[in-house]
Symmetry: C2
Subunit: 374 residues, 2 copies
């Protein structure tokens, strides 16, 4: 397979050490070496999410990022429960589908394309109805919209403190500011292959203590087997307590590579990572708009622009994608139904942004400029 | 992590090439190189299951083997549907749990510990009641029992032809004789980390044409999002037709390593693989019983003994496991509630059995003999 520079909004380029850990022999998930390693991974997940050291529980499952929606929908919400979805693109819509499949009654506040949902609308809606949960897609990869999770969480705490705050952090955890504990989040789902910097294949999430108690309530009927927290929480608690426990076979190599990715990320420091992503994103967006005259799908400049990817309109997306591919850089097209054929998406996350040795983003920009494709 | 020889009933030792493919860079799941590769994987899955070349559909998902139960239970069976479970150990019991969680009404025929369910009982039960589906665990890894899928399938075809035949092939596909098409199976689930010879992390299954039509029937309500065949089948069909399609991010490295594992397996030929597992299993079981006087959990000699693992009673399992671990070989303890503390389990699958260069099984036997532990 080719050695192209992978600049899509996930999977992203992984570091050599993460890759080496992935290409390791299989081992038993119950041997002490692996038990110790997985304990460390879970403890580092708490740091990644900025979660409490002992309350709540990080959860690492074999699965795509999508599986995190099932975990939220099948464990936190009961049929007929009212849920408020903040719609900022394709991924918010799909989360709604998942919630409805498990029986939730969803109200959606749809943002203008490329922008956040206005706070006033969220405020009014929270005053109108009592919701079991609210979902916020921190970064919707279809539009490049960054939601202001902190401010929405403040609103919810003020107006409807019993409502579970559920955040889709698939394209934000590791590259956008996020504070599980300080902001009072109840559930945040993410995945291994984006700003966390590992290969695709792990669903990684964090649940608060009160949401955990709700999920484990014996009077509530679980509605998924593989995504059941009643099955998985004892396994995660055991491993975090340095003891093996079985429900389903863990992907040992994926966990080993996640271990390396988390250590790399935390060694830099999360604040520095966030800052590097912010700077790189600002640089690229300014160059694309000011110097090349592209228009972003995301409202820009504004606080609604995500820092791990850039989505912009191009007259002939396949032509630009193909030009870059010929020059060894992979970007991708649109996924949002309204604009799928009118835009391209560039991911700028992880080592491509944070490593001093790599110039992936400037090199990608240079190719776009040279291409003369608009 | 240590370089112990891994002889548990999965994950198993993977070949160097499978390991290398796993430790490869991330790539976009939509680039032609990956699309071509995944097409080949799906076509090879048909060969692996001995399935029809165009009818039905192979399905490769990111997940543990367990996820295959959700796929079966959430897509093929509706709430209140009657299902007959043949109980041959821990894994049959867990499949029952999964079916019941999704609303099925389960009757279980429980086999005597270490043996198959008597055919007469299956026959009587099929005459008594009309079942939507029957589940057979081809090899139950907790007891080492091999079920006679072919003969049970014949019974079902004769007595209750509309009943879906669902086979748990997690610990059998790749090492036990299996004929999806010839035997008329409707759904067989397996996983990457056992006799298929890849790393843990992929759920691999095959569905028949009639079961597929049932799963996709628009009048039926899907009951899992992540395990929904309505979501996944169009993705699998597209890739098999050499076109990319998105529902959730595929684990590209896992798929690449599965590609290598399947090619290795099919290059040998399935019949030769089955034969090698049979011979190795016979040799080990005979030596353990005749020469060392151990008693197997599985009725032996009989056709009920699986060929990919051996489960036998030991007075002090931790002592034997620990002795072998000190000498660089990892075996494991029991998992079946009645005998968990009384037995050990040795896996003999994949390269450990089939490679001419490796003497894993004789070496493991030698260590057991030398240990003088009973």
């Amino acid at each position: 397979m080719s050695n192209d520079t992978l600049l899509i909004p996930g999977p992203i380029v992984i570091s050599e050490k993460v890759q080496q850990a992935l290409g390791s022999p299989s081992c038993s998930p119950t041997v002490p070496e692996f038990v110790n390693l997985f304990q460390g991974v879970l403890k580092n997940c708490r740091k990644l999410f900025r979660a409490h050291e002992t309350q709540g529980q990080p959860i690492v499952l074999v699965g795509s990022g999508t599986l995190g929606w099932d975990v939220a929908a099948a464990n936190l919400v009961d049929p007929e429960d009212e849920v408020l979805v903040l719609g900022t693109g394709y991924f918010s819509d799909s989360f709604q589908d998942c919630l409805e499949l498990y029986g939730a009654k969803v109200d959606k506040l749809e943002a203008p394309l490329g922008d956040q949902v206005p706070f006033q609308e969220v405020e009014q809606q929270l005053k109108k109805k009592q919701y079991k949960a609210i979902t916020i897609t921190q970064v919707d990869t279809s539009t490049g919209v960054l939601s202001n999770v902190q401010r929405i969480a403040e609103l919810v705490h003020e107006l409807s403190p019993s409502t579970f705050i559920i955040v889709d952090g698939v394209c934000s955890i590791g590259c956008e500011e996020f504070e599980f504990d300080k902001w009072g989040i109840d559930f945040c789902l993410s995945a291994s292959q984006k700003a966390i910097g590992a290969a695709p294949g792990l669903s990684i999430s964090m649940i608060s203590q009160r949401a955990l108690e709700h999920a484990l309530d014996p009077s509530r009927k679980p509605r998924s087997y593989y995504a059941s927290l009643k099955k998985w929480i004892p396994v995660m608690q055991a491993y975090e307590d340095q003891k093996p426990k079985y429900f389903a076979t863990l992907s040992v190599q994926m966990v080993k590579s996640l271990d390396v990715a988390l250590k790399e990320l935390l060694a830099d420091g999360l604040e520095l990572r966030w800052e590097k992503h912010r700077k790189t994103s600002e640089w690229l967006k300014k160059k694309l708009t000011d110097d090349l005259g592209f228009k972003l799908v995301t409202k820009y400049p504004s606080e609604a622009a995500a820092h791990g990817l850039t989505v912009f309109y191009v007259k002939d997306p396949p032509k630009l994608i193909s030009y870059l591919k010929q020059h060894g850089t992979v970007i991708t097209g649109g996924i949002h139904k309204q604009i799928a054929s009118q835009c391209v998406r560039i991911g700028h996350m992880g080592v491509s942004v944070c490593s001093e040795q790599l110039d992936h983003i400037p090199a990608c920009y240079k190719l776009i400029a040279e291409s003369n494709i608009h």
